[in-house]
């Protein structure tokens, strides 16, 4: 119980701040509560299946398979797969991190994880269609092409800059995180 309270302390603090705003400036406080409520409902509709998929992935997909497909020697195919996996996603970025955690645990190459995160954040297919209709095809396609190069560059550089020891500790941390 005490542990739970500690984990949620920032949330509780923020909720109190929101209540104070509600008392001091009712319209703003009310609006923020409404936005928070709507976003939370959105989150609760989008996120549960993703975590179920995560659980299934963890239980059914062998480490060896992930290593073979997206591990250190997976080359271009691994990177392409990471890009596709991120692009078909339809959820906000915060949902990508737990999936990245599982992929780390299963031995996915580090740069492929960063590609996955990059694709998830910016080249999502459903959003791309939306971008095209609201911003025009030129804006959307220039951004999409630039993003492919940018994501690859960021992944490559992150992989290069991080020392082996630092990567090892990230992988080690991932194996500790999802143990039931």
């Amino acid at each position: 119980m005490k542990k739970t309270a500690k984990r949620y302390r920032i949330f509780i603090l923020l909720a109190v701040i929101n209540l104070v705003i509600l008392i001091v400036a009712a319209p703003i406080g009310l609006k923020s509560l409404q936005i928070t409520f709507n976003n939370t409902i959105d989150m609760l509709t989008v996120i549960p299946p993703i975590f179920i998929l995560l659980g299934l992935l963890d239980v059914w997909v062998e480490r060896e398979v992930v290593i073979k497909l997206m591990g250190n020697n997976s080359g271009f195919i691994g990177a392409g797969l990471a890009f596709l996996l991120g692009s078909v996603a339809a959820a906000p970025l915060y949902a990508a991190f737990p999936i990245a955690g599982i992929l780390l645990k299963k031995g996915c190459k580090f740069s492929n994880i960063i590609i996955f995160i990059g694709a998830w954040s910016t080249t999502k297919i459903p959003l791309l269609l939306f971008e095209t209709t609201s911003m025009g095809w030129q804006f959307a396609s220039i951004r999409f092409i630039a993003d492919i190069f940018g994501i690859a560059a960021i992944a490559y550089l992150t992989e290069k800059i991080l020392k082996d020891k630092e990567k090892a500790s990230i992988y080690h941390n991932a194996t500790l995180m999802n143990i039931t």
């Binding site: 949330f11 701040i17 923020s32 299946p49 659980g55 239980v59 999802n178």
Partner: protein, 159 residues
């Protein structure tokens, strides 16, 4: 639409898994709950922060800040808002389109959208949980710099 598809796929896989191995499926669901509960405090905090920020930063305010002012100051403001804010894409694009109509420059809008999607200052604590400090800061700062490159490219092509 996309969400419905995700649900469909999830249900199919879940049923398939249940038929093949009941015990494994139960473990999978337990793990799912565990990793969800693991990040729940942070996600709930993020929700409240977004709520407060968006209540303060109305579209009118944002439009005032990066709308008619052009040049690098507008870009800096746009990228700062983009890095902090967490606006879902289906809200951000119509907002961006509206800002363009009200005289905002393509470069400011491009840097705003790119940072909005790739840089997440509010989600940094969550990201650090998984990737550690160094990798997280590297990824976010490179994404920030890259957003400027995209903006310049868009500025060159679209005038």
């Amino acid at each position: 639409m996309a969400t419905a598809l995700v649900y469909l796929v999830t249900w199919l896989l879940l049923i398939f898994s249940l038929v093949k191995d009941k015990q494994k499926t139960i473990t999978a669901i337990k793990k799912a709950w565990k990793s969800f509960e693991n990040i729940l405090p942070q996600i709930l905090s993020i929700m409240v922060i977004i709520g407060i920020l968006l209540a303060l930063l109305t579209p009118a305010t944002i439009s005032q800040l990066i709308g008619n002012r052009s040049g690098w100051i507008g870009m800096i403001i746009a990228s700062t808002i983009g890095s902090i804010a967490l606006i879902p894409g289906f809200v951000a694009f119509p907002l961006a389109a509206a800002l363009l109509e009200h005289g905002a420059g393509y470069m400011q809008i491009a840097v705003f959208i790119s940072t909005l999607m790739m840089v997440g200052i509010i989600t940094i604590p969550l990201e650090i949980n998984y990737f550690g400090k160094k990798a997280t800061i590297l990824r976010n700062s490179m994404a920030f710099a890259f957003s400027y490159i995209v903006a310049v490219i868009i500025g060159v092509f679209l005038k």
